[in-house]
Amino acid sequence: MIEFVLDSRSKVNTYMQLVQQVKQALRVGLLTPGDQLPKVRDVAQSLAINPNTVLKAYRELEIEGLVGGRPGVGTFVQRTLAGASLPNQAELRDDLVAWLHRAQTAGLTAEDVIALVETTLRATLTDDAPQKEPA
């Protein structure tokens, strides 16, 4: 079970924040098919928000085919957003950590690294243009 958190300074409206949190959880594998989402009543109560807002978020996820409601039981995850890449991520992360240590030794600050990653990412992805990330 996940727990929703609201960012009161965010300009993103409440229902969309709930949608995004579920998708994020699906992406990182925190939620997998069969898992139950928190009950509408519990979310409304713990966040002190309108239950209609929670229903709206769950309905949006339902329309996208990510979750399904079982009347009187609850809302359950039907599909995952974690790509096939998830198992490969650990190895890539180790490579990245090693690379970051090299960058640090070479005198790059965190901002330098981010700038380098962003420009390289843009350049590289433009080169391989039609390649699309799986949804």
Partner: protein, 304 residues
């Protein structure tokens, strides 16, 4: 359309040119509005705007001097049968202060036709309210929770709350709204709560009624209201028509620039205007300020 727990567009509360007068002063005037089932509505306005008067008319404590008010299709004044469907918590949660919470639960059972004492006890136990202490000795937050639990024990289809959180500290306010949202999620009760504090209500309410100077300034579903208003910033505006703008709600000007809060009826394409989306608070403040911006420079003897 936002989803609601109610059955479509059934109207719970409807008023038509409703008015109430105290002496020669109208506390509420030409008030026409409707509240669909399943909504949690905020009744917003400054002190003295007529919020309490409207709630008292809806619960039948006051008799209209003009127009009509209907709750579930019935006129609430002098209608004890219809009253069973309405829960009402008046301002400052007046309870019999010498009674304990447990005694109030019993008393409620004797005074009401429909009464879920078990539900009230369970809720009060969950909140850690002592059953054997006179409610006059409880904290303001606890007393508000007792009043809410009693109102919900009636299992009302419409719950009216007059300034339920105004006198509570921030923690008690949050706890009150938490229990209210949790209970309403379960029961599907339509709620109308008044407040002069908007910040608390933004996440709680999906329907809005703005009262000011005894009149309805704005009413509708929150999502729709936010979607149809925009702020425009551009060169000084002389008051001419702008494509896509149905009405200018509020305008402020410098010698060369105008800032407008507008209600739209289509896309605004004039490139002279920078268009910004607005929050619920922006919209409400614009309507409240409308008509009351005539400051009294001359009365104070200072230049405008």
């Amino acid at each position: 359309m936002s989803p609601t727990r109610g059955r479509g567009m059934d109207m719970v509360l409807e008023t038509d040119r409703l008015g109430k007068r105290y002496g020669s002063t109208w506390a509420l005037r030409e008030c026409s509005l409707h509240l669909p089932a399943g909504r949690i509505a905020a009744l917003v306005g400054p002190n003295g705007a007529g919020k309490s008067t409207l709630l008292h008319l809806a619960v039948g404590l006051l008799k209209p001097d003009a127009g009509t008010v209907r709750v579930f299709g019935r006129s609430p004044y002098d209608d004890t049968e219809g009253l069973a469907d309405i829960g009402f918590v008046a301002q400052d949660t007046p309870l019999y202060r010498d009674f304990t919470a447990a005694e109030l639960v019993i008393a409620g059972g004797k005074l009401n036709r429909r009464w879920d004492a078990a539900l009230a006890r369970q809720r009060l136990a969950q909140l850690g309210i002592p059953p054997d202490k006179p409610v006059g000795k409880l904290s303001g937050g606890q007393r508000a929770q007792v009043a809410l639990a009693l109102a919900l024990a009636k299992q009302p289809r419409l719950l009216l709350l007059d300034e339920p959180v105004a006198s509570l500290d921030p923690l008690a306010r949050r706890e009150f709204l938490q229990s209210l949202m949790g209970s309403v999620a379960e029961s599907g009760t339509t709620v109308l709560l008044s407040s002069h504090l908007l910040a608390d209500l933004e996440r709680v309410c999906d329907y809005l009624i703005v009262l000011s100077a005894a009149q309805v300034q704005l009413t509708g579903a929150v999502d729709d209201l936010v979607a149809e208003h925009r702020q425009l910033v551009g060169p000084r505006h002389d008051g001419g028509a702008i494509g896509g703008v149905a009405a200018v709600v509020r305008a402020s000007h410098t010698d060369r620039q105008s800032t407008l809060l507008v209600r739209t009826d289509g896309p605004i394409t004039d490139p002279a205007w920078t268009i910004r989306e607005v929050s619920l608070e922006d919209v409400v403040l614009a309507y409240l300020a409308d008509g009351t911006t005539q400051t009294s420079h001359s009365e104070w003897g200072v230049p405008a």
